[in-house]
Symmetry: C2
Subunit: 366 residues, 2 copies
C-alpha cells in the first residue's frame, strides 16, 4: 500500500521505536493535530510519555503488528534497525514511509556503500571481509590505518575497531565478533559534517544547513551550524544528500554523515546514511523555522515541506550519561534551550537530553 | 502544602483541565523531562492525546481527586473556573500553583475588580448589580453605553450584554440569566492589549512583550506583537502585570488584559486577569526564546525563569470553527507555523488551532 492520500488532521501516525527520536516525532505530529501511536518492546520507552496510544510488543509479534497497523493511518520509524520482516509485514497493511526497501540497504554497510558508490558519490575505499583470511588480503589493499566494521547493527561506535600499525588482525576480527564486515580506509578528515534532508511525496527536497559534528567516544557530542566549510563544499554536501534521497525515492527525513578530507584531497566522502531523523538535526527544533521532526511528519503525511530558515549561529550539545545532572545549570543559561528525554535510568554513554544555544548575532559569537 | 522543593526531571505535573492550554502545557513539561498527568471530566479532551497518564472524572469526585493527587508532584490548572472546593481539596495534599486563593479572586468579577482597584490600578468604572432595581440605579451612576457582566463563569463574551441607548434594562437583566453581576462603563478604547507575565517561586517576574489583541464576536482572533503603543504605555502595562503578580504572591504565568483609552484619557485600564497561560501568549511558542508554557512549567517546578527575547514582529491568528479547514493553505505559507489542537469536533466559535507568522525583518513587514 503506498498510493496514500494526504492525511487529515486527527489521523494517526504509527511510529516504530520508543526512544527520544520517536518522542520528538510524536510531539511534532501532535503540534500539527495528528495523533501518534508508539510501537515499542520496552515499557520504559521515553516516547510513551507523550502519547495516549501505544503497543508494547516485540517486532516479531505478528498479531501485535497487525493490531498496530489497524490503529494507524501511516507508519514510520525512528531507528534503522527495525527488522525488515516487520517492516514488510506492516507495508502490506498500511503505507510505511520511508519504504522498507531503504532499510534493506542501510542496514547493511556493504550494500549501503555499494549503493552510494553506484551513485558516483565518494566514500572511503572499502573491501568486503567475511573471514580472517579475507581481512589479511583486505588490509593489503586498503593499508593501515583502517577500520573494520560489522556490516549490520552498528551504531555509536559499536561493532567497529580501528586497525593501526601494531594491531593484530586476528584480535580485530574477534573484537567485532567474527561477523561479516567491511574494511574501510581510515579517512584523515579535517572535519565531520552532516546534511539532514527531507523529501516530500511529490519529490521536492529541502535540505537543512550543513552541520559540523564533534564526536566523543564515537558518540555525537556537539553539532555546530553553519559548518565551517566553503560554500562549494556545503553545496556539494547538500547535493549528495539530495542525490541519495532521490535515488531511494525517499519520503521523509534522512541524514547523511560525511567527511571533509584535509586540504589537497578531493571530494566530500559519505560515511553513512541514517534513514530517519538524526541527532545532528536536533538544532533545528530551536534554530530553524521548521524542525527536522516536523519536516518528517509533513512528508509522511503527504503535506508540503516547509522551507527551513536558520535563525542564527547554533550549537547543539548532547547531555550524555550523568551530564544530564547539569540540567539546572543549563536552565539558568540565557541562550540555552533545554531538552530532556525523560529516560528512566541514567547509563554511561546514554543520550539523556540536549541543549541548543542560538546566537542571533550575525557575527556568530554565542 | 506549599514549601515544595524544586522538582527533579521525571517528576509528574498534574494539570486540571484537558483543553488546548493543558495540551501545550503538557508538551512544554515533556520537553523539560517532566511527566504530565491530565485531570479532565471529558474523555474527548484534546490534551489527553499528548500524555500517558490521565484521570477522567468530575471536579467534584473526591476519590478521583485524591487518587490524582497521589500520582503527581505538583498541581496546576489550565482554566480559571476550576471549582474552588476541588482546588482546596487538592491543596491539602499537594502543592497547587498558582495558589487556589487566586482562583477565589479571579472567578468573581466583582472581587477581581475590587482587588485591582485596591492596588491603585485603573479599571473601567464599575458597580455591583444584584437585582433589576440595582441595575436601574447603576445605569444612572455609570451612564450608557455600559456592559452588564455576570460575576462568575463568563468567557469569550458569554454572560455579558452591552446596554446601549435603546436597550431595555429588564431584557438585559434576563439576557445574563438574572444572576449577580457588575455593570461596567463601556470603555471607548483605542486598542486592546495584554501582558503575559511569569513569576517564579523566588519572586522574580519576567514579562513578555506587550501584545495587541483583536477580537471578533468577543473571541480573540489576532494577536500582534509588539503592540503599537508608546514605550511609556508598554512600560505601564508591564508594571501593572508585575504589580498584580506580586500582590497575588503568584507562581506561574498570568495574563492581564487591558484597554488603552483614546488619546486625551489617562491611564491604561485593566479589563481582566487570567490566572493561567493565555491565548494572547501563544505567539511565544514560535516568536520568543522561551514560551509562556515553558515559563509556567519552570515556575511551578521551582526552576528559574528564562529571560524572554522576542524573535521579530509577530502575528498570531486563531483558527476558529471551520477556519481550521484552512490548515492546508497555512502549511504552504512560508512564514507560518501551524498549530492544530486535535479537537474531535468542529463547532462554531471553538478554538481549533492557531497560526504564528514571524517576520525576522526588523522593519516588521510580514
Amino acid at each position: 500500500m503506498s498510493a496514500a492520500r494526504p492525511l487529515s488532521p486527527g489521523a494517526v501516525v504509527g511510529i516504530l521505536g520508543g526512544g527520544q527520536l520517536g518522542r520528538m516525532l510524536a510531539m511534532a505530529a501532535a503540534r500539527l493535530g495528528l495523533k501518534a501511536h508508539i510501537y515499542s518492546p520496552d515499557p520504559q520507552s521515553c516516547a510513551l510519555e507523550v502519547v495516549r496510544r501505544h503497543t508494547l510488543a516485540d517486532y516479531g509479534d505478528e498479531a501485535a503488528l497487525d493490531g498496530f497497523a489497524r490503529e494507524v493511518d501511516v507508519i514510520t520509524y525512528e531507528f534503522e534497525n527495525v527488522p525488515a520482516d516487520a517492516a514488510m509485514f506492516l507495508a502490506s497493511r498500511r503505507p510505511v514511509m520511508p519504504d522498507p526497501s531503504v532499510l534493506a540497504t542501510t542496514q547493511d554497510r556493504l550494500i549501503e556503500k555499494d549503493f552510494i558508490a553506484g551513485l558516483g558519490v565518494a566514500t572511503a575505499p572499502f573491501v568486503r571481509v567475511d573471514s580472517p583470511a579475507e581481512l589479511s588480503r583486505a588490509i593489503e589493499t586498503i593499508g593501515r590505518p583502517a577500520v573494520l566494521k560489522t556490516r549490520r547493527f552498528g551504531y555509536d561506535g559499536k561493532g567497529q575497531v580501528t586497525i593501526r600499525d601494531g594491531t593484530a588482525l586476528e584480535a580485530a576480527w574477534r573484537a567485532i565478533g567474527g561477523r561479516p564486515a567491511i574494511l574501510e580506509s581510515f579517512v584523515d578528515f579535517e572535519r565531520e559534517i552532516s546534511v539532514v534532508a527531507a523529501r516530500e511525496r511529490g519529490g521536492r527536497v529541502e535540505c537543512f544547513d550543513v552541520t559540523e559534528n564533534e564526536h566523543r567516544d564515537h558518540i555525537l557530542k556537539v553539532s555546530r551550524v553553519p559548518a565551517l566549510v566553503s560554500p562549494a563544499i556545503a553545496d556539494a554536501a547538500q547535493a549528495i544528500a539530495e542525490t541519495i534521497a532521490r535515488a531511494f525515492d525517499y519520503v521523509g527525513v534522512l541524514a547523511v554523515e560525511m567527511f571533509v578530507p584535509r586540504a589537497g584531497e578531493t571530494a566530500v566522502m559519505v560515511n553513512e546514511v541514517a534513514p530517519r531523523v538524526h541527532n545532528s538535526g536536533h538544532w533545528t527544533l530551536d534554530g530553524a523555522s521548521v524542525s527536522q521532526f516536523e519536516q518528517h511528519i509533513r512528508a509522511i503525511a503527504g503535506w508540503p515541506l516547509a522551507k527551513p530558515v536558520r535563525r542564527g549561529r547554533i550549537e547543539m550539545i548532547n547531555l550524555i550519561g550523568e551530564e544530564v545532572e547539569e540540567y539546572a545549570r543549563w536552565l539558568a543559561e540565557p541562550h540555552a534551550k533545554v531538552h530532556l528525554y525523560g529516560k528512566a535510568h541514567v547509563r554511561p554513554g546514554r543520550k539523556m537530553g540536549h541543549v541548543t544555544c542560538v546566537s542571533l548575532d550575525p557575527a556568530g559569537h554565542i
